[in-house]
């Protein structure tokens, strides 16, 4: 490609927006940017691992310094290019050429769009090599450097037309003629087909060719032939026969199909009848096996029930033993209490004896034992102590 051409195309290929492309196949939602909701363009991933188009996330960060998806704090420094595999996935999506509306029918992967616009697309706007006006690439006349806006004469009618419009003019030019293959008459290209359908010199078949007339000749002679053609007279009759044969064939086909259907049905019933008896035997066998299985299951269950019973009895035995032990413990507890009380009584008795000994020795000092004695006399410590003494004496006796 020549360098002025490339320079001429660059602005248009740059100004096309990947986000405005039309995708042919359904695009997975995971490949779409949550902001523009279209397939990702230049995917970038945030530190919170959400992916957006670079342009979208940059715009969003201008408004609010947080991730649009989870609101975590975010700055332009926190976004990194997404993994290459993701970029490849979105670039492999199939799209229509951006110039689809202008007439380009190309479908291609998104990654190839730029190359297609640069090199191939015939509907890209380029500069006219002569005057620099914008034209479509397809309107350039090859690599010629001539201006396509220069008017030149039509090859046939010598009417003036721009080079650009010449092709569309030639399709309708009345002077662009062609001769009829049969009579040689000159006729504009647009009307030649209509003429040939009625040209007197055209070679046609006899009207009765369908029923076997081998005649063919110029159209103007076909009328004279048909007067003398024997098949033309017979044609109505032959055609009627043909249609009756066709009807009969259809009917025959239908009947044959019905017959086949009923035969197969009959054969199947036979097979089913012969099968029924064996099927019944099989069923009985199955029922018997099942019964046997259930019986063995029952036996196993009975054994485990007995085991459980035994275990329960043992448990009850242990429970009884446990109860007895508890009672014994309670009894021991009571005996210990009793012993404690007796010990207490004995202590009191000892204290009192000491006091009495001191009284007998004529010592009237206020010792602890005399206090105890007084308290006992006043009935403060009294009753328990006294009862203890009597108990003690009784037991001793």
């Amino acid at each position: 490609m020549s360098s002025p051409d490339a320079a001429a195309i660059r602005p248009s290929s740059h100004s096309f927006d990947l986000r405005s492309l039309t995708y042919i196949t359904h695009v997975d939602d995971n490949l779409c940017c949550p902001i523009c909701q279209s397939p990702l363009v230049d995917p970038f991933t945030t530190s919170c691992r959400h992916t957006f188009c670079l342009a979208c996330i940059t715009d969003a960060l201008k408004v609010s310094k947080s991730c649009p998806v989870d609101r975590s704090p975010l700055d332009t420094a926190d976004i990194k290019m997404a993994p290459v595999v993701l970029a490849n996935l979105v670039n492999d999506l199939t799209v229509l050429c951006p110039n689809h509306a202008l007439g380009c029918s190309a479908t291609l992967s998104r990654g190839n769009v730029e190359g297609h616009l640069k090199e191939d697309c015939q509907y890209v706007t380029v500069d006219c090599p002569g005057c620099g006006e914008k034209i479509m690439r397809k309107d350039r006349q090859g690599d010629s450097e001539d201006c396509v806006h220069v008017e030149e004469a039509c090859r046939y009618c010598s009417e003036k037309h721009r080079k650009l419009d010449m092709k569309s003019h030639e399709a309708v030019c009345s002077a662009f003629t062609s001769s009829c293959r049969h009579c040689g008459i000159e006729c504009p290209l647009s009307k030649i087909l209509a003429h040939e359908a009625t040209c007197d010199e055209a070679i046609v078949n006899c009207d009765s060719a369908s029923v076997g007339c081998p005649w063919h000749g110029p159209r103007k002679e076909s009328t004279t032939h048909s007067v003398s053609c024997p098949l033309t007279h017979l044609r109505p009759l032959l055609e009627e026969h043909n249609s009756r044969i066709a009807n009969l064939e259809r009917e025959n086909k239908l009947l044959r199909r019905r017959l086949e259907a009923s035969l197969t049905a009959r054969a199947q019933t036979d097979i089913i009848q012969s099968n029924t008896t064996t099927a019944l035997d099989n069923q009985t066998l199955r029922v018997l096996t099942e019964q046997e299985r259930i019986r063995s299951d029952m036996e196993r269950l009975y054994v485990s029930m007995q085991e459980l019973d035994m275990k329960q009895n043992t448990l009850a035995m242990f429970m009884g033993e446990n109860m007895r032990t508890q009672e014994e413990v309670a009894m021991i507890g009571a005996a210990v209490n009793n012993l404690q009380t007796q010990l207490h009584g004995l202590q009191l008795l000892t204290i009192r004896r000491q006091g009495m000994d001191q009284n007998g020795a004529g010592n009237r000092s206020d010792g602890p034992s005399s206090q105890v004695k007084r308290a006992a006399e006043n009935g403060v410590l009294g009753r328990a102590g006294r009862e203890c003494f009597s108990d003690m004496f009784e037991t001793r006796d």
């Binding site: 949550p34 523009c36 279209s38 230049d42 332009t76």
Partner: protein
Amino acid sequence: MEASSNLTAANAPKRAAEAGATVTKRLQTELMQLMLSPPPGISAFPRDGNLLSWTGTMAGPADTPFANLTFKLSLEFPSNYPMSPPNVTFTTPMFHPNVDMAGRICLDILKEKWSAVYNVQTVLLSLQSLLGEPNNKSPLNGQAADLWDRDPAEFKRLMLLRYREAEEE
């Protein structure tokens, strides 16, 4: 980061011109999604052939005073949508703690809590749930907020009265 700053700098003038195209493309995508898989009880469509103003309809949620009623809303999209939230108002007369008499709505995600990932569908669904769960702490309609807790029967009566205004007009 060098790469990204280069890219944005190069794109800046072009992007200003494309701003309108971006909004249009995004709204077209949303409209397509709403048409292809319409969520139950919600619909929205551009009005008067203008892609930046939509009319939405929303069914009142079941088990609320608004059940079996249909509400119309107006959605006006700014030219930098979805970076800024759409301006959403009730066009059906509304009696609700967070909606004033002119139909203006007090909802955080339509104001400071807006995020570019929200769309028409999520906004309408949020409004639908706002109907059943009003925020009575910052009411725009004090009477409605008061009655909502104190006298549900009276709330429903006043709400229906206001709703009927629309039908009579």
